[in-house]
Symmetry: C2
Subunit: 344 residues, 2 copies
């Protein structure tokens, strides 16, 4: 490996001059510059990234931790983060946090020890307090994806979950449904609460009363969605539609509904949330809320490098989700021959 010194000798200049032409950080006379460039590609010179990092105290590496790499939409997220990073001549070091708080904390430490220039976090289990503590413990800039922590609001790239919840239920209402149940994610998570709140707002906005008996809490997983749906049915209240906190739970709910002999959307309409790829292939095509994860990834990467360079960032912090209409919702059939679901 040729070093900067080799180049300087070959070009008959000092290492400082070589450094200057490499980084174009100062003016260099055209002819010496040319000599240096010739020497560089004669030797196939590549600057040593370790030495550079040591001298400048920055590595051009962004650290990223995500809850679960093999999950359904992290691909989109990371793909876009990486793309943006590359365009800004940065690299991304990836770590999967696993599911629990300890693993997420470990992942963060792992990256911090590595002295990344900035941290992009997509974490579920770390608490707001953890995040807050982390932010004041380290100098490293931190960007939070899909999360809103008030004290760190300038570092958050998040989505309006309340609006998303509302959009789904508004659509159900527009189709004539009024007996609308809700399957939420774990309510200790703020996004679950926000989506539920959107559900309630939509209901009340339509002059209906919100009732605890129509909502059940689950775990964002498919079997959990089935269980929740079963509990809902067993309560015996009439239901013509169910708004689910994410797509996976919607799959579970639909599966159980089919098992019990209901048709979806014929007897009961179901909506999801997230619009993961599978939802377009699911039968029936799932009507759901699309979250622009890709765009959020791009913004997160931009914010991260801006922060790393101590620039004032110009980024979009909040994104709006969109309703994706497919086949799992039908206008309410008011002709009267509707199956009375609580009689099963």
């Amino acid at each position: 490996m040729a070093t900067i010194r080799d180049v300087s000798k070959k070009a008959g200049v000092s290492v400082a001059t070589v450094s200057r032409v490499v980084n174009s950080t100062q003016w260099v006379a055209p002819e010496t510059r040319a000599r240096v460039i010739d020497a560089m590609d004669a030797l196939g010179y590549q600057p040593n990234s370790y030495a550079k990092a040591l001298a400048t105290n920055r590595s051009d590496i962004l650290g990223m931790v995500v809850g679960d790499l093999s999950g359904p939409f992290f691909g989109d997220l990371m793909g876009r983060v990486e793309l943006e990073a590359r365009q800004q001549h940065r690299h991304v070091l990836i770590t999967s946090g696993g599911l629990n708080r300890e693993e997420e904390l470990d992942a963060v430490d792992f990256l911090l020890r590595r002295q990344v220039d900035a941290l992009i976090l997509h974490v579920d289990s770390m608490t707001d307090a953890d995040l807050h503590a982390l932010a004041r413990r380290t100098e490293t800039p931190i960007v939070l994806i899909n999360r809103f922590v008030p004290e760190l609001k300038d570092q958050c790239i998040h989505v309006n979950n309340e609006l998303g919840g509302r959009k789904a239920v508004d659509y159900l209402l527009a189709q004539g449904h009024t007996d609308i149940a809700c399957i939420t994610g774990p309510l200790y998570k703020s996004d679950s609460r926000a989506r539920l709140h959107g559900y309630r707002q939509a209901l009340e906005g339509a002059g209906l009363t919100f009732s605890e008996s129509m909502v059940v809490e689950a775990d964002y997983m498919e079997p959990g969605g089935s269980d929740a749906m079963a509990r809902l049915l067993d309560r015996g209240y009439p239901i013509t539609a169910v708004a689910c906190g994410n797509d996976l739970m919607a799959y579970g709910a639909i599966r159980l509904l089919k098992d019990r002999g209901f048709s979806v959307p014929g007897d009961i309409a179901v909506t999801g949330y997230d619009d993961i790829v599978m939802s377009g292939y699911f039968e029936p095509g799932l009507t759901t809320i699309h979250v622009p994860v890709g765009d959020m990834g791009t913004q997160a990467a931009q914010l991260a490098v801006a922060l790393a360079e101590k620039r004032v960032p110009e980024v979009q912090h909040q994104f709006n989700p969109d309703l994706i209409i497919r086949d799992s919702v039908q206008p309410l059939d008011t002709s009267g021959h509707k199956k009375k679901i609580h009689s099963l």
Copy 2:
């Protein structure tokens, strides 16, 4: 940030001693060792990774390039690569290659300039010659996933695609089908050719004759699968089953079949290849060939660090795919009232 020098002063020893206890590379007297450790966590000492990398000429970073981060099964792959890397105290720097050769080459260069300890490549478009040239151009160890290049065979983690193709068709044969068509991926790719070869072997193994007129080449994409299916039908030969080169093309084929009024698997059986997550949700559930991408990721990571440490690696190079039976194949109905498909 406390440096090794700060620690040495506080503990009243030399920097060399501190280095020795940090890396446990030599014996240190228990009491001095204790003093050093106390000093370390009194100061919250963290070794500087850049300096360490510069001095040792290794970064403990594995570089990885994948064709498309947001694709369906890269999540599983990367998740496992990252997990294994972390367990071996390595990090992974990820780059997505995009779809064409130039981007893949760029991605590799990007990582090479970074001086990663090893490279894990999951690339489609780079040619065998590119890979071969790359291997002799750089000192950096290279591991190839899902690819077999004879000259680099000890660095390949691949799957037996011929066997996979054979398993799918053997199953179709066992269900009584004999008029079996095949939709392949681009035949310039060796895995497409291998799967096709498996198809042919199975046919001939059953005493049937292979015919060009029953195979059509497509592009591994869903619309391509539809087009290919249409071409196949338009040729007018009788067909009761179709073996597709991947799941996406199977989706496309099934969609077209449904559009033309056929039932799957009632009229025509379809198999896929890859077993991406969606296939379990697809309607009908897709019978397909499962490729153990996760396990391959683990092996690739192990191989990469072994190579980086100049150890003789003990890894499994070839993996066998498995048949996953779901609902898109039915035993051939020989009762005679079968729809004559070429009459449409």
